[in-house]
């Protein structure tokens, strides 16, 4: 089967700074893929490149076998296949429009009557545990957790086959972050969506992704199946990351 996303030898420089160097990753359809790394590792740049928001100096990205093209028409076409969930939900929500307006725009892109979009939206909101009343609110009137769900609802409304989530739980309390992660897992299984999760939280990636890549300074440090990557890392940097992670040990071993 064709990979959902295939990045081949991506190269990118911002002036003197190496943003991506020889990055190759492939994400099989229907799986969850994790991208981990620290600030400046290139993980968000890689995400932006996958979304076609960042041109590469060299290399190729294929989405479901089709080479990624630049330009407005290509971007609109791609939006039906790949949808982002940005770290800051405000990046997807205009402060001046009600949630309803934002969702209607999705219908416009899909050339779907507003009534049909609205009907699908109600189903998605229910699934995400959001009250119908959020659609008449402005972004500042809802909580941070709700804003994240609204951003996910907007992404799902596009009927994408690939979701790319950048730090989906950053800034959320530990008691509610699990809720969002469970939700992403459920959606992915129910709709056979390919999920790419960018996170600095190694423990979370280990649990939700089948495969992951560890990045540092724009390069791939280590890539593979999570069991091997986290259970028996080969690279010193991967080991260092794992050792530095402040983790609660099992109560039994205390």
């Amino acid at each position: 089967m064709t990979d959902a996303i295939a990045v081949h030898d991506a190269q990118l420089r911002f002036g003197q700074t190496v943003a991506l160097e020889g990055v190759s990753v492939s994400v099989p359809q229907g799986t969850c893929f994790g991208i981990v790394g620290e600030s400046g590792s290139g993980k968000t740049t890689l995400m932006r490149a996958m979304l076609g928001l960042q041109r590469l100096d060299a290399g190729e990205i294929r989405i479901l076998g089709t080479p990624l093209q630049q330009g407005r028409a290509a971007l609109t076409r791609r939006a039906r296949i790949v949808q982002p969930i940005f770290q800051d939900p405000a990046a997807s929500l205009s402060p001046r429009s009600r949630i309803r307006t934002l969702m209607n725009e999705v219908g416009t892109v899909l050339k779907e009557p507003h009534a049909a979009t609205h009907e699908r939206l109600l189903v998605i909101l229910k699934r995400l545990g959001l009250p119908d009343s959020v659609i008449d609110k402005y972004p500042h009137e809802i909580s941070g957790g709700q804003a994240r769900r609204v951003a996910i609802a907007r992404a799902l409304l596009m009927k994408p086959s690939i979701l790319i989530a950048d730090e989906p739980t950053a800034g959320l309390d530990v008691s509610v972050q699990g809720d969002l992660l469970n939700l992403l897992q459920d959606i992915r299984r129910a709709q056979n969506i390919t999920l790419v999760v960018i996170s600095h939280n190694l423990a979370v990636v280990r649990l939700i992704a089948e495969n992951a890549v560890v990045m540092r300074a724009g390069k791939v440090v280590e890539i593979g199946e999570v069991g091997a990557l986290f259970g028996a890392p080969r690279e010193a940097y991967t080991k260092e990351l794992l050792a530095a992670w402040p983790s609660v040990t099992h109560a039994a071993s205390v």
């Binding site: 008691s175 972050q177 530095a244 402040p246």
Partner: protein, 329 residues
């Protein structure tokens, strides 16, 4: 006892009414010890730090509370109660180091200012040497060159090291670190925690670590206090609390943490994350009975009526939790 905080209550007056941010919170920290104060958003953990430092916003009011620091007692309900201790007896590390650093002065100038305030008699040359020495102690490379630099020339981790150096120079009895590593990468986080522990061991101060990360607390703290919706629900040694949480909230909080060694299950449906269902109570109206009642998974009839006290867990006087189950046969 280096630090003893008793019955701290703080209200915020808001357009929608008076929010009770803290209710009768008491904490004790021994010299050379690190206490981890954990809690989620809205628990009031940062309000504890601000009340101690006298940095509360204008709409906040301390309605009760005393702090005993190195034998001196301070009535926290009085404005600027702890002002004599700021910069000498107490130091604070914020999540954002730029809250402690002035962007228009060099690192050297700011470090020397701390020394000038602390020991006015010493001369500039001695202070320069002491400041450089402090930068070296917190493992900031090229201290001589750093003294001439401005904060914007340094990375986030380096700035946090400068703030720790400032705290080191002021030799406080109490160091308050409010989410000191939240904005940093994990490898830098580990280094910064090492420097904070190094500082504590060097000057033997008490450390109040305010964090949402149970991982940091179990790795670095001696004792833990759990705050929820403005109330301290549990306190004890990290070991005791982790082994046998006395409060259901503490147990659920630990369950929500994903251990790094938890392996992925082949059956995707098994890879679930734990969640605490429900929401925080309205800070304006405390519900009757236990504050956690609405979200508790083991509550019973009395929990909605009787306000629990602090009861010892497993007969251990140093480990207390605010749960009726501990006194119900």
């Amino acid at each position: 006892m280096a630090i003893s905080l008793r019955n701290l209550s703080v209200d915020y007056s808001l357009p929608i009414g008076t929010a009770h941010a803290l209710r009768d919170v008491s904490l004790d920290i021994q010299k050379g010890e690190m206490l981890g104060l954990v809690g989620e958003s809205g628990s009031g953990k940062s309000t504890v730090a601000f009340a101690l430092m006298g940095l509360l916003a204008n709409n906040a009011r301390v309605t009760s509370g005393t702090a005993t620091i190195e034998g001196r007692r301070f009535d926290l309900t009085r404005p600027n109660a702890t002002a004599p201790l700021r910069g000498r007896g107490m130091a604070m590390i914020f999540q954002d180091p730029m809250l402690s650093l002035n962007p228009v002065f060099t690192i050297g100038t700011q470090l020397i200012e701390v020394l000038r305030r602390r020991s006015p008699a010493s001369d500039r040359k001695t202070r320069m040497a002491q400041a450089e020495d402090a930068l070296a102690k917190v493992k900031l490379g090229n201290p001589k060159q750093r003294m001439e630099q401005y904060p914007h020339e340094l990375s986030g981790g380096m700035r946090q090291r400068v703030v720790i150096a400032m705290a080191l120079l002021s030799e406080p009895a109490l160091l308050i670190a409010d989410e000191p590593t939240t904005a940093l990468d994990v490898t830098v986080e580990a280094q910064i925690m090492r420097e904070i522990i190094g500082l504590r061991d060097r000057i033997g101060c008490a450390v109040l670590l305010i964090t949402h990360s149970l991982g940091l607390v179990t790795e670095h703290c001696d004792r833990i206090a759990v705050l929820y919706a403005g109330e301290r629900l549990e306190s004890g040694s990290v070991r005791d609390v982790q082994r046998q949480p006395g409060h259901p909230y503490t147990r659920m909080l630990f369950d929500c943490e994903v251990p790094i060694d938890r392996e992925r299950h082949a059956d995707a449906a098994q890879n679930r994350f734990t969640v605490i269902a429900g929401e925080l109570p309205d800070p304006r109206r405390r519900p009757p009975g236990c504050i956690f009642n609405g979200r508790c998974d083991v509550s019973f009839e009395d929990c909605a009526k009787v306000v629990p006290g602090d009861y010892p867990v497993a007969g251990n006087a140093a480990h207390a939790a605010r749960c009726l189950r501990l006194v119900t046969p």
